[in-house]
Symmetry: C3
């Protein structure tokens, strides 16, 4: 029987992306004890970074929210791979740290990051409610608008 998160993904019509391989001397996830640390994920779609640029400049709030949601999907894809294919092994999303590329006058990072927080709760239910950090940064790898890292508790 499918576990609750896998069932919710189906009901939401969400297919998680193929988890991106790390392209250097690091790895997508490291588990230590029951904590799973996931590398910073970018808004990858079909293997390509999307939503390029900065909030307050060429990227709209709506596109920022979409970028954050894509980061969350990629975080879930990495967590699932680390959990041998079953998100049911995730006990809790502990914390997400979200970096939003923006101009110095852009201060709506929380609205952007809600795109990721909402997705996590949709898929993981109560276990998806997490501690959160949202900050604005000058720029991000590959010129993406949002990058998010996460710590999960896993069984």
């Amino acid at each position: 029987m499918a576990t609750a998160p896998e069932t919710r993904l189906q009901q939401l019509g969400i297919t998680l992306p193929v988890p991106a391989a790390a392209v250097a001397n690091y790895v997508p996830t490291v588990q230590t004890g029951s904590l799973l640390f996931v590398s910073g994920q970018l808004p990858m779609e079909d293997g390509k970074p999307v939503v390029l640029g900065r909030l307050g400049d060429t990227v709209s709030l709506e596109d920022g929210v979409r970028a954050a949601r894509l980061c969350a999907l990629n975080l879930l894809a990495q967590a699932r791979a680390a959990c041998r294919g079953d998100l049911g092994r995730v006990r809790r999303l502990v914390r997400m740290t979200a970096y939003v590329a923006g101009t110095p006058d852009f201060v709506d990072q929380p609205k952007v990051v809600n795109g990721a927080s909402d997705l996590m709760v949709q898929v993981l239910g109560e276990a998806g409610r997490h501690a959160r950090v949202a900050v604005g940064v000058a720029s991000l790898p590959l010129n993406v608008a949002v990058e998010i890292e996460a710590v999960f508790e896993v069984a």
Copy 2:
């Protein structure tokens, strides 16, 4: 009998703020094992964000220090709420990551963040000595000058 941190708060004449509720699909704190992850806290005073703007621009070093201290007070308020009202359950402040909004030429982040580190040691004693990360960022939520997240070890 009041535990040491609660006694110190009284002696310092400090009343911790009412811990801010999370305003979206996240929570102020998540405990996993003995680790308590606290969401990024802003310099909230009487429920309102204060010390707006950026270091190196309109915010003075002195005001930056004050903002960092306010972030620390809010971190302690969240930790106390998670510890059912008693900071005596905090075994150790493990790490703080402090984000200081500033102009590209502002490089005195450590002086700013000392406002938080000093407060933590005043209230928690030796248990308040922590690992620390201080960085400068382009901008922060609600235009505040400082945001700090923390990990505590709790009993």
Copy 3:
């Protein structure tokens, strides 16, 4: 007999720097359970910060890579001090978060941070493969180009 990481350091001809003391109310490392949190390390060489400025401005990619490598050496120096002089007690580098000071149009943070990731694998072997976060920030303490914090699992 020297443990594997200490032997590799010798073979690579690397002498770790003297770990920098924290200059305020914080400490270089805090261990909680088997997790060792290391404070953000700067590219210190002979006790002085080097590689000053920002990527995309006065700091070349090559110098950025060198700065990241120096941060990693200082992280290892702190970890070794926390492990009573023997990096053999490090079971795993769990995660590094790397902050790269840069102009808004600099988006090659991953190439910069590879300088740290590669060093970690050279010294720690498979145990050096870590989860990673790389972001671009406006500015860093003492005007350095790179700052990196880390979490290790230790025996």
